[in-house]
Amino acid sequence: MDSFWNVLASAVGLVFAFDPDLMEIVGLSMQVTLSAVAIACLIGFPLGAIAGAFRFPGRTLLSIVLNALMGLPPVVVGLLVYLMLSASGPLGPLGLLYTPTAMIIAQTVLVTPIVAALTKQVVEDLYQEYGEQFTSLGVGPLDRVMALLWDARYSLLTVALAGFGRAVAEVGAVIIVGGNINHVTRVMTTTIALETSKGNLELALALGVILLAIAFAVNALVMTLRASAVRAAYA
């Protein structure tokens, strides 16, 4: 127990020393995760809205696929993206393997189905309420999607948060396609895994503390926004 408190103390010391290596890792983590979540929302919001608000052939299939993809094991995604990006793979010539871009791709693949599936549920509920009024007003398909997404905006914030949670905590896929290269593709989770195995617990724990703090802060922000939206009956 004694050593735990010692390690924790050094870890907190590292955090507040704003160790440049540490900050670099945190910065890259945020860059990769936020990029992946942004792209996933760009694809997943409209895709989910379409699946939630329109009846078309293959709609049920789309839902099944999205739900199945939600539970994709990260290492499998990592492996598939690796195969695509490796020198002999179809995207090999782009030379993306072991770059932050590769990690963004892997996380986007992981997060997009989550965003799309949750968005579909949110939009479906809203559409129950709005559908006939939209038909009555003569709202066209594009306006429908835009209006539903806008009116679901506070719920979608929570959806994006779920995507963020999955991406930021993810280790299996990014370690495969990123390679965990120092100063290039080392992010919080992969560094924690590596440093723990090397016995460098202070750095690992320092990153763990920061990861937790970020998770808390982002959740608190979203909950606060939602609470004010609920007061205005906008959520």
């Binding site: 709202v139 306006d143 906008y234």
Partner: protein, 259 residues
């Protein structure tokens, strides 16, 4: 025109009236059936431009269903709905508007709700702002324009929904029990909006359970029972001297039970 309709109290059906106004909406053998249940059967109606029609009948009689069919929100399983003599389609529906029993308002401000509806109808810029202002004034909501629509009171919400429908400048306005849960003042405000709209030439079809409202607003009255027209005729006549057993039961405040 109004008097013409009311002076023929004993005439049994609207179509028999010597009314020269254009038939705006017509149903022919209209029916709706699901899982072998006939929810609406053989509805023949002619709705003339500028008229005010009230639909009454007990819960589950098919009043809302009839409105939704006439507005083209659902397709009939039998018969046709004709709009100016042609099959009702998406384009024709743009000449119609509907106020639902529970107002469906977007999660936006009162003003943004109007802006959205007018935007859908292709109104932009200054003209749209003018129409929004006019609608807010008509609803008595100018001071609440920037409030979230869904924190407004029930009466304010229904007024907003009504002026939103009217802002779309429809030829016909369907209203499904618009004042069912409102206090007398809010009810009067909605009735005022309806009568003003009608004075401006908008045809009105209104569902209500309130005989007072039916006599205040109705020229023609359709009494529905079990998905069929039990009685149809000039409103004050049907309300005063109902010919059919279900309508009599309503007047006498009894539950009509078919034997």
């Amino acid at each position: 025109m109004r008097n013409l309709v009311q002076d023929t109290a004993s005439t049994p059906s609207i179509s028999a009236l010597p009314d020269t106004r254009e038939v705006l909406l017509e149903t022919r053998g209209l029916g709706f059936e699901t899982n072998g249940h006939h929810l609406l059967t053989d509805i023949d109606l002619q709705i003339r431009r500028g008229s005010r029609t009230v639909i009454m009948g007990p819960n589950g009689a098919g009043k809302s269903l009839l409105l939704r069919l006439m507005h083209g929100l659902i397709s009939p399983t039998h018969g046709d709905v004709l709009w100016r003599g042609h099959a009702l389609n998406k384009t024709a529906r743009k000449d119609q508007a509907m106020v639902f029993q529970r107002p469906v308002l977007l999660r936006r401000s009162a003003r943004a709700n109007l802006k959205f509806a007018l935007g859908v109808r292709g109104e932009k810029g200054g003209k749209r702002n003018g129409l929004i202002q006019k609608a807010l004034t008509a609803a008595g909501l100018s001071h609440l324009a920037n409030r979230p629509a869904r924190v407004l009171s029930g009466g304010e919400q229904q007024r907003l929904a009504t002026v939103r429908a009217l802002a779309c400048q429809p030829d016909i306005l369907f209203l499904d029990e618009p004042t069912a849960s409102l206090d007398p003042a809010s009810t009067a405000a909605i009735e005022q909006l309806i009568l003003e709209a009608n004075a401006n030439g908008i045809t009105i079809i209104l569902v209500t359970h309130d005989t007072g409202q039916a006599s205040r607003l109705g020229q023609e009255l359709i009494f529905l029972q079990d998905g069929e027209i039990a009685e149809i005729g000039p409103a004050h006549g049907v309300l005063k001297i109902p010919q059919s057993a279900p309508a009599r039961a309503l007047r006498d405040g009894q539950l009509f039970v078919k034997n």
